[in-house]
Symmetry: C2
Subunit: 318 residues, 2 copies
């Protein structure tokens, strides 16, 4: 990547902000274990499979140090979980960095109470699924067991914005050593705002004193160091969610121009299950489920991942 | 309940606030179905079992009408889910009003991936748990199936503060007809603050314009109409969570003096799994797990529910 003097200055400023952020917000519990797992996972797959980092679910931003309240970003994690299954079906190894308790691959097809409902006692005290239920669960169970036996998925969780950013940096730095065969697919809903440690209340904020005014500060833009410093040779796909159609393409293009990564997938909250827009430096194209695909209950993530995988193949070639 | 003129005035003011709240915040989707389920559930159990409403998990407060961000209250829902199991074991029928995707009774003992991990294929393509796994799951499965076959649990979910308040009112009004054999056990973490509809942004708030200042308004105190109007003859137990030990008893007593309900269970975020304080108009008493109970992994909810059930029995007698 060739950079002008202005860009270099802007990256250096952004890096200072980041060093400060990581200095102020301590690493999540179990961080060293996660790093060791990442390293081992990448080692196993380096000469075998392409690797995708899929981020999924929303990050939280605490109001108080002893946290009772927090700001959250709307995301059940469906897009990330579904996309993970499709990356796996394309032969990728996947680091699934997801919000704790959000939707997960494979399990998302099973209602939590379904299995407990469906189990029956058979002679010998064993619990078994009936033939109808076995038939329903079997394809999911089989895919899950295969991926598991090939160690092709690494489950990492976050809750707060700070957990997420620590793990994102570690993963990106680890994958950079596997470039260009690794990609980042940033589907998590990451907060733009946070409350700095020194502005946070120590204890639960009391309601007796009337209305509460909260000032949320801007999070330094994470895509900047990610694309230019931590993972400069990776294929980077980000998502842009808006609710106002008029703003979508403009915001996606702006993001791309600013961070110079490979692809922004723009989507509207209201129609995100049916259409998305692929925006690159050169063009933008709409991807929309056809009527027959809707009728067949094709998930749009299947089409998104097909397209991303195809573009990643081209990226690897050059 | 005998009320003075000041109390009557305060209740009437509070009711006006509530009428306005419900006028401004529409009923949740599926509300009519939930009401019909409540009515049917109460009908079945009216002459059979005491009924407990257990509320569980945190409520959300949206920032935008097309919601991308929201304020949430910290609560996995463990206390409500565990307490539900213990009320069931005491013969109660339970309305389990919980945050969607929060911890649930029975299932909380099974890691979501555990069952998919533990299933094995046996001849005929059926999926079965091994004898070790069957033995682990069997007691939970058996309790769950028993409660289900006796229709002793009704699962109702909420996400936003407004969903919660609509369903809480409906349930309380339904249970009032079964007083004094019904109790409310309000373990949900309910927001004290919200953003009124007319102050809410239509679209996703943009981050480009710098730091964001949000003003959160006070939610009218729900315990007031609940105790005095919707369910005046019910046994009402509320929880008070604080992080500052010095404030706990004072806040619990204040709540009791103000709303005149039966019991406040005070707990600190840091020690809530080990000790709680029962506060009534007359006295306060500490309930703490003994060392041998901790060693045996007794849950404090077992002790809390034993005590609440005993007090409810006395309440029914008088």
């Amino acid at each position: 990547m060739m950079l002008g003097a202005t860009s270099k200055l802007s990256i250096s400023r952004s890096m200072d902000e980041w060093e400060q952020y990581f200095a102020e917000n301590p690493a999540p519990r179990g961080y060293d274990i996660s790093c060791a797992q990442l390293e081992a996972f990448c080692q196993v797959h380096v000469n075998r499979n392409p690797i995708a980092l899929v981020t999924s679910g929303g990050t939280t931003v605490p109001f108080e140090r002893n946290t009772v309240r927090f700001v959250d970003n709307f995301s059940a994690g469906t897009r990330g979980a579904a996309s993970t299954e499709y990356f796996l079906s394309h032969g990728y190894a996947v680091i699934f960095l997801h919000r704790d308790k959000s939707v997960t691959p494979f399990l998302r097809h099973l209602d939590p109470r379904f299995l407990l409902d469906a189990l029956q006692e058979v002679p010998g005290g064993l619990l078994q699924l009936s033939s109808i239920h076995s038939a329903q669960v079997h394809p999911i169970w089989q895919d899950y067991q295969r991926v598991k036996s090939e160690s092709r998925i690494l489950w990492l969780t976050f809750t707060t914005l700070s957990d997420y950013l620590w793990l994102l940096r570690a993963t990106t730095q680890c994958l950079q050593q596997r470039a260009p065969k690794a990609l980042l697919y940033l589907a998590a809903a990451v907060s733009d705002f946070y409350i700095p440690q020194d502005k946070m209340a120590e204890h639960k904020i009391q309601s007796a004193s009337g209305p509460l005014t909260v000032t949320l500060h801007l999070v330094p833009k994470m895509l900047s160091p990610l694309v230019s410093v931590w993972g400069p040779e990776l294929f980077v796909v980000s998502f842009k969610l808006e609710t106002d159609e008029k703003k979508l393409i403009e915001k996606a293009t702006e993001s791309l121009r600013k961070y110079k990564h490979d692809l922004v997938i723009g989507n509207l909250l209201q129609t995100r299950r049916e259409e998305v827009t692929f925006v690159t430096e050169k063009e933008s194209s709409l991807l929309r489920l056809m009527e027959h695909q809707k009728a067949e209950k094709t998930e749009i993530e299947k089409l998104i991942v097909e397209e991303v995988v195809s573009r990643h193949k081209n990226f690897i070639k050059y």
